[in-house]
């Protein structure tokens, strides 16, 4: 598929020292739903603003549909943005807000009216056309902002944390709606979020950012199952990270730390004596009996049992002192009694294929 957006070697520094975006390379295919994910201050918004034209890169280039737009002002770019605070024009009605971009295109009145109407209908707000922004609820404002951005039929829709101001229920509903809208419109969506669940649910591809750089880009399952670093492993989903030393690389890799020996799948690039990090997802652990003849038995003490509705998280501690998490789905009989209680010892088994090994410098 052809690339609609080509970001090549883009960097942006503020005030000569804050490197907000650092040599980013990213191509986005037409119609893709891409999420920029990362902690606060990692440069997501800055990267998005360079696509919109509000910010110019210090170096590198941005191409849109093959055309270099690096230094083109926002009003000459075929992209539209949904702002985090929606930025609705307070002096205009919902319909006028939506129609603003069409009026700038000098379309005739009838055409504008028709397109505004259908955009409002698409977001389920036909009845609110004549309301002022301050007469709308947060969720309704969000929809107006969305309608305003898509009514111009841009090639790319940019969304900066579009759902962050909504409460949890509305947010989940809007996630689904946005996804449907993406399918229906077929245009490219680039969304910023720092909510990993949101990113996993919505995206075709997630770009995890770390200090202005791309830590890893891939499909949600790529990132979840094959994280490139412990940073990604702990940012996308939850991971137990254990530090240790490689003791042997014959017949799979053996990893050891004080009181714990793990057998992992063979992996190139490791040699005995090397320091390494092992990451294990909490839901990949099985609870076994104390004397079980299994590989990779991990002994801990349960500190807390946290009820999550459909699952239970055991917050445990290794003998060496680190926190170790285990998630258990509750079965149909919802038998909490089978799980160890706080203060009790517990043994987990981790299958070799559930352990991801990283070199220490990958952190």
């Amino acid at each position: 598929m052809k690339s609609i957006i080509e970001i090549d070697g883009v960097s942006r520094t503020f005030g000569g020292k804050v490197v907000a975006v650092d040599n980013v390379q990213l191509h986005v295919a037409e119609g893709e739903f891409v999420t920029l994910l990362g902690p606060s201050g990692c440069g997501k918004t800055t990267l998005l603003r360079m696509l919109a034209g509000f910010e110019m890169p210090d170096s590198g280039s941005v191409r849109l549909d093959g055309k270099d737009v690096t230094f083109l002002p926002p009003y000459r770019r075929d992209v539209n943005m949904v702002f985090q605070d929606y930025a609705l024009f307070p002096h205009l009605t919902a319909a006028k807000n939506v129609g603003f971009g069409l009026e700038r295109q000098k379309l005739d009145r009838a055409e504008i009216g028709k397109r505004v109407e259908s955009a409002l209908q698409l977001v389920g707000l036909s009845a609110m056309a004549d309301r002022m922004p301050h007469q709308l609820s947060g969720g309704q404002r969000q929809r107006v902002a969305l309608a305003r951005a898509i009514v111009r039929r841009p090639r790319v829709l940019l969304l900066d944390e579009p759902l962050s101001a909504l409460d949890a229920n509305l947010r989940e509903a809007m996630q689904v709606e946005l996804k449907h809208l993406h399918n229906k419109l077929g245009i490219t969506f680039i969304m910023v979020t720092h909510d990993q669940t949101e990113a996993l649910v919505m995206s075709d591809r997630i770009v995890v950012m770390h200090r202005g750089r791309i830590a890893q880009a891939g499909t949600p399952s790529d990132l979840y199952d094959r994280p490139a670093s412990t940073y990604v492993a702990s940012f996308v989903g939850t991971s137990n990270i254990v530090e240790g030393t490689i003791v042997s690389v014959a017949d799979g890799i053996a990893f050891e730390r004080q009181g714990l020996r793990l057998r992992c799948l063979p992996l190139p690039g490791f040699s005995p004596g090397q320091r390494a990090l092992a990451a294990i997802r909490p839901e990949r652990l099985r609870i076994v009996n104390a004397g079980a003849k299994e590989a990779n038995v991990i002994a801990c003490t349960v500190e807390e049992r946290l009820f999550h509705g459909n699952s239970v998280r055991l917050r445990c501690r290794l003998a060496s002192g680190e926190v170790f998490l285990c998630d258990r789905q509750l079965n149909a009989s919802r038998d909490l009694g089978a799980l160890p209680d706080a203060g009790q010892p517990v043994h987990f088994a981790a299958d070799p294929d559930s352990i991801a090994l990283f070199r220490e410098d990958s952190r």
Partner: protein, 269 residues
């Protein structure tokens, strides 16, 4: 803030006393104006009680007094042009303060605000010196320049404060939707600061209309209304002056109603 202290007082001394206090404050503010209006219709040459009957003759005399009419016209002329000048200079200055970063910006802001706190006499004398130095002929035009200088800060502070509160994302959103910078200004920024501009312009107008100290130094032979009234005071307050005062009160009420209406229609869909 106002509401809590109001509640506090109300609960302390009770609604009756509170009501009386309100009445006293209103009386203090408006009794003089009421006296002015009543005596403008009183059929007597002197300001003494009891009232001696209703008449419109002071208004007739007023319209026959060409000096007074000229002064009234001059005041309108000066206030209108001085206001226009403060808006034309003040709005861009407020934008410069809000948008641009330049060395000495804080100093610039302080300097713009200074004429407002400077006594009118100082502004008047200073400008008189300058105009003499530059060989200007004194007249209504020099008064206009003087007023605009003294009142510039009114417009700058009001518009600047509004700009500071304006969400900058609105302008980015407009640009994102294809608005060129001038379109963003006229369709997005201006409607949102309109009430601040109108409000400060009206205030400028009123302040200029009854300004005396600066006018005193900068006007040549021409009289503005307050100067005229002041000069006739040597002969005591005539009922005619009361009639002018009443007309000005009426005009002010119309202006206020107009501004309230304009600001309202700004908020309606």
């Amino acid at each position: 803030m106002a509401e809590t202290s109001q509640n506090y007082t109300a609960s302390r001394i009770g609604d009756g006393v509170f009501g009386a206090a309100i009445a006293a404050i209103l009386a203090y503010l408006y009794l003089p104006v009421a006296v002015l209006i009543i005596f403008s219709f009183n059929d007597s040459n002197t300001l003494t009680l009891p009232l001696s009957g209703f008449t419109l003759k002071w208004y007739e005399e007023l319209f026959g007094n060409s000096d007074l009419k000229k002064a009234l016209f001059n005041s309108f002329y000066v206030a209108t042009l001085a206001t226009a000048l403060t808006v034309v200079i003040g709005v861009p200055a407020a934008f410069a303060l809000d948008r641009m970063n330049f060395p000495g910006k804080t100093l610039f802001r302080r300097l713009v605000l200074l004429p407002l706190v400077l006594p009118g006499i100082i502004t008047g004398i200073a400008m008189l010196n300058l105009f003499k130095l530059m060989g200007f002929r004194l007249g209504l035009e020099t008064v206009i320049i003087g007023h605009a200088t003294a009142l510039l800060s009114v417009v700058v502070t009001q518009v600047f404060a509004r700009l500071q509160r304006l969400n900058r994302n609105l302008e980015e959103a407009a640009a994102d939707l294809g608005a060129k910078p001038w379109e963003t200004f006229f369709y997005i920024v201006l409607p949102n600061i309109r009430s601040a501009i109108i409000g400060s312009a009206l205030l400028s107008f009123t302040l200029s209309f009854d300004e005396i100290p600066v006018t005193f130094f900068l006007t040549g032979r021409d009289n503005t209304l307050p100067m005229y009234i002041w000069s006739t005071m040597r002969r005591g307050i005539t009922p005619e002056i009361n009639a002018v005062g009443t007309l000005i009160v009426a005009a002010s009420l119309v202006l206020i109603a107009l501004s309230v209406w304009m600001l309202r229609s700004n908020e309606r869909p």
